[in-house]
């Protein structure tokens, strides 16, 4: 195994990648969705809690239902994307820890502390969403993450049968249309938001 990845690969997943607002008319297959998940699930989460619960909206009907709960600016970004994934989390993720983290009794760490579980589930589910975007880019796809959605509405619409799941944000996935993006926003110098002690 190589020690580092190539400059080309760094360009693809970080330096040249952009968030897209519009999409080419080119499908994303179920195999591609599964390949993204097979990578993202390898990323680290606290005690391997894997709290993300993902709904991949691929049919036009599902995307239209999701778009109903989005801000006006986001509706078309959802309807026209090949796939739009809902990144949700399970408040009771600790119930799965006996098999996800078999080394020790991690379930007991989280029992009786729902607020702490929600905080941890949101943090770790966001990590998994970042892995999802990097994985999609690594496989040749583009992403368009969005937080401008009515999360309660999305939760009721898509997690009605999972009363302990909550939607947290959404991300369109496809082949980005380069005409749909603006100039890249500025990035900070190291000193602006970092300190070495």
């Amino acid at each position: 195994m190589a020690d580092t990845i190539s400059d080309d690969a760094l360009d693809l997943i970080f330096r040249e990648a952009r968030s897209y607002n519009g999409w080419l008319d080119k499908d994303v297959s179920e195999d591609q969705v599964r390949a993204i998940y097979d990578l993202l699930k390898m990323g680290p989460t606290s005690a391997n809690q894997q709290p993300s619960r993902l709904v991949w909206c691929k049919s036009q009907e599902a995307k239209d239902r999701l778009a109903e709960h989005a801000s006006d600016a986001n509706k078309e970004k959802i309807r026209t994307a090949p796939v739009c994934v809902i990144i949700g989390y399970d408040i009771d993720f600790h119930e799965e820890l006996p098999w996800l983290f078999p080394h020790t009794d991690a379930k007991s760490w989280f029992e009786g502390d729902e607020d702490g579980r929600i905080e941890g589930a949101k943090r770790n589910s966001a990590l998994q969403g970042a892995y999802l975007m990097i994985a999609a880019r690594a496989l040749g796809l583009d992403c368009g993450p969005m937080s401008g959605v009515d999360l309660d509405g999305v939760t009721k619409e898509f997690f009605a049968d999972q009363p302990r799941h909550r939607a947290d944000w959404i991300c369109s996935i496809g082949y980005g249309d380069k005409d749909s993006i603006f100039d890249r926003s500025p990035r900070p110098e190291f000193e602006k938001f970092n300190r070495i002690e």
Copy 2:
């Protein structure tokens, strides 16, 4: 630019990477820290808010101070690491949006809604922490993320002069000692936590 990254690169950043508990006696330079930041800052955040405020503890004195606020199981993982970074966030990140997101008046979207800002800052700062770990791995380093710390204590210790910053989690970075890890925890099948609609 290539359309996808190589299998070797996917192994390095996802499939073969592990979270380490112990570290080889090999330094991580300031240049390496800056190279990690130069990649992670390219990752997407909502309205380019870049809410992470990072303190890279590199001196033994800083790592010892940080370890004082960690659970017993984590103290050595901090003290012996070449670098341990505190991933914090700025509750008032919106003050920076006029230059970070110059396309429109995004600052006004967040004014007067501190709870919403904290929620967004935590989510987007977690995304940036995930980019940090992927970037470190891509550059040949290993990570050891930890949430077992007294966050109020770390905030008081390291953000005393930045009263609107909050610590959220920490991550050791270095060259992992393969003797310090357990067998990999199981990963879920797609059907367990995913649904295609």
